[in-house]
Amino acid sequence: MLEVKDLHVTVEGNEILKGLSLTINAGEVHAIMGPNGSGKSTLSAVIAGKEEYEVTSGSITYEGRDVLEMAVEERAQAGLLLGFQYPVEIPGVKNIYLLKAALNAKREAEGLPEIPAPEFMKLIKEKIAEMKMDASFLQRSVNEGFSGGEKKRNEILQMLVLQPRLAMLDEIDSGLDIDAMKVVADGVNSLRAEERAILLVTHYQRLLDYIVPDRVHVLVDGRIVKSGDADLARELESRGYDWVLEESAA
């Protein structure tokens, strides 16, 4: 589904990704782990199309399409969706309005008509209950005055509504207490499906107790230095990153 080949990315002249390659197939859950500053968040931001990141070489292909040639909104409409580590506040714009606009943009790209209001309301009610959120969230401005946990739930709510083909979640566990983490993890797990892939970016193994990945990759200094299954994450948890660094240096 997604193929990243020898990707080099610079930000303000500094090379952050230095030849990263990664293949994700439909139905898989991948976790990218690594120490701070290794380039984890850069990867998902580049795939989503954030402007400040300059791809100097390499390629990203999604379902046969050159992702780097697609506009930010095209990528989202095609099913590449990024859940933010720090979702921004948009004062005065109701959450429900953003959801509806996003869903309709996707439908338009797929050649479907706008979703009828009753159908939309039914869908939203269902999803908001799934995320254990109060319906009043819909009428509040996007992320404005939300706690850290509420913002993260809101990101997952958007995923549930928009049903991406590849969901990328950037440090979705940061700043969450254990209850909120369970809700978020349940939401993500409900997204698991044969036709869908999930890419988790996380610093801690903790999240992976709840969302068990098929593949775990360790990102160090802009390159994937080790890949494995869920056991690798547990090993990182008990042994830290140092042994991987040593191994890769050797």
Partner: protein, 480 residues
């Protein structure tokens, strides 16, 4: 200069022509007492009205244009303007929509203007297009039953001279300022509303005004009076860009609210802002003032300003009555090379008077915008309160936003609060929306509409929807 002599010669020719050809429909450029007499005569005004105009004109001659605003425009040559032109005759207008600039029509479509109104707005000779006469008659009957007078100011001068004499210039005197004096001398038309004691006007004076708005001219004069306990909601202008060849607009609006009266005045202004280099846009110098003359009276100004090359406008409230209330809600959007210096004045005179100001300025392109607001509390205004919030939003990095708040507090019991923010439309906000599949343009309009929400919710429903559409049309292509 030879050309000046030429001009004088031309003008002299005209003056002679003026005497013989009183039926002439359009005056050549120039302003003097004869021109004012011509306008007054053309409108069949009584002698007192002409005297009133001449008094304004004589004062105007001694005045100088204000230079304190944060605006940059070449000096206006008042002698190069024609001060009277009769409405174009049907045969001189476009005969069908096919003859109208397709760009204008495209804008109407985006704004969702009904088909039958598009033609009227584009200046097509529409008499047969829609049934304006019967509409007008129906609403006149309904208003008449309630005792509400709603007519053109010219008609009011003839039909209700006592009311006009009593109130005209009582809020904005002829000599108030340079542009108000000019308007008083040469105003061609406008609206007159009178709501008698205890009557709540049975309809918003709006939809019909759009139809009637043709050819009100560049020197519009509006007078609205609400007697004790009366109420009216008045909607000025319309969201569609009118075809307009006049460059200078200097309107005056006067509102009078007696005891317990409530006037809500909403404006959507979308005049031609000029081309990308700012050429050809409208200069808009407006004096709008409401007089909360009675106790517990209330005047509320709501405006959405997106047009004009130059805007100079400060709708104000004189809070004279005890416990009177003034409100100002404003959204001003500038793009391209537009310049706007706009804000409000709240003058607290009466005890317990209150005012609130919410101003939202959005600057894009290479435009420049200033908020200028005065809150003045007089010595008798015990316990007066004001709340001011003015927020600026910048789109791109070539525009400017400035805030000039003035406070003159002459009373220790007054409470005055001021909040101001300036923010840039966040790259992060845009990216967030786009990464949800929303196009850049839709994202901008969504973020801007969110920013303006506090003001939009003050607009009458039908206006609010149009205002949102208007904003996205105005900001089209302002990013990227």
């Amino acid at each position: 200069m030879a050309s000046q002599e030429m001009e004088q010669l031309v003008r002299r020719d005209y003056k002679e022509g003026f005497v013989t050809d009183i039926e002439s429909e359009t005056l050549p450029p120039g302003l003097d007492e004869d021109v004012i007499a011509f306008i007054s005569n053309k409108k069949g005004e009584p002698e007192w009205m002409l005297e009133w105009r001449l008094k304004a004109y004589r004062a105007w001659l001694k005045m100088t244009p204000p230079s304190w605003a944060h605006l940059d425009y070449p000096p206006i040559d008042y002698q190069s303007i024609s001060y009277f032109s009769a409405p174009k005759r049907p045969e001189d207008r476009p005969q069908s929509l096919d003859e109208v600039d397709p760009k204008l029509l495209e804008t109407y479509e985006k704004l969702g203007i009904p088909l039958h109104e598009r033609a009227a707005l584009a200046g097509v000779a529409v008499d047969a297009v829609f049934d304006s006469v019967s509409v007008t008659t129906t609403f006149k009957e309904k208003l008449g039953e309630a005792g509400v007078i709603f007519c053109s100011i010219s008609e009011a001068v003839k039909e209700y001279p006592e009311l006009v004499k009593q109130y005209l210039g009582s809020v904005v005197p002829q000599t108030d300022n340079y542009f108000a004096a000019l308007n008083s001398a040469v105003f061609t038309d406008g609206s007159f509303v009178f709501v008698p004691k205890g009557v709540a006007c049975p309809m918003e004076l709006s939809t019909y005004f759009r139809i009637n708005a043709e050819n009100t001219g560049q020197f519009e004069r509006t007078l609205i009076v609400c007697e004790e306990g009366a109420q009216v909601s008045y909607l000025e202008g319309c969201t569609a860009p009118m075809r307009d060849e006049n460059q200078l607009h200097a309107a005056v609006v006067e509102l009078v609210a007696l005891d317990d009266a409530y006037i809500k005045y909403s404006t959507v202004q979308n005049w031609y802002p000029g081309d990308e280099d700012g050429k050809g846009g409208i200069y808009n110098f407006v004096t709008k003032r409401g007089d909360c003359r009675g106790d517990r009276s209330r005047i509320s100004w709501t405006q959405v300003e997106t047009g004009s090359a130059i805007t100079w406008k400060y709708p104000s409230c004189m809070l004279r009555g005890k416990d009177s209330k003034g409100e100002f809600y404003s959204v001003a959007v500038t793009n391209g090379r537009q310049q706007a210096d706009t804000g409000t004045k709240m003058v607290h005179i009466g005890e317990g008077s209150r005012s609130s100001i919410i101003s939202k300025g959005i600057s894009a392109g290479r435009s420049n915008q200033s908020y200028r607001g005065l809150v003045k509390v007089g010595p008798r205004a015990k316990g007066a309160r004001n709340f001011t919030q003015c927020d600026s939003l910048l789109i791109g990095d070539q525009c400017g936003a400035h805030t000039f708040p003035y406070q003159e507090i002459g009373n220790s019991t007054a409470t005055v609060e001021h909040e101001a923010t300036t923010s840039k439309i966040g790259e992060d906000q845009l990216f967030y929306c786009q990464s949800r599949g929303i196009s850049e343009e839709d994202a901008v309009s969504m973020i801007v509409n969110g920013f303006c929400k506090d003001v939009f919710q003050e607009l009458p429903m039908e206006f609010a929807v149009e205002a949102e559409a208007l904003l996205s049309v105005t900001l089209e292509g302002s990013v990227g």
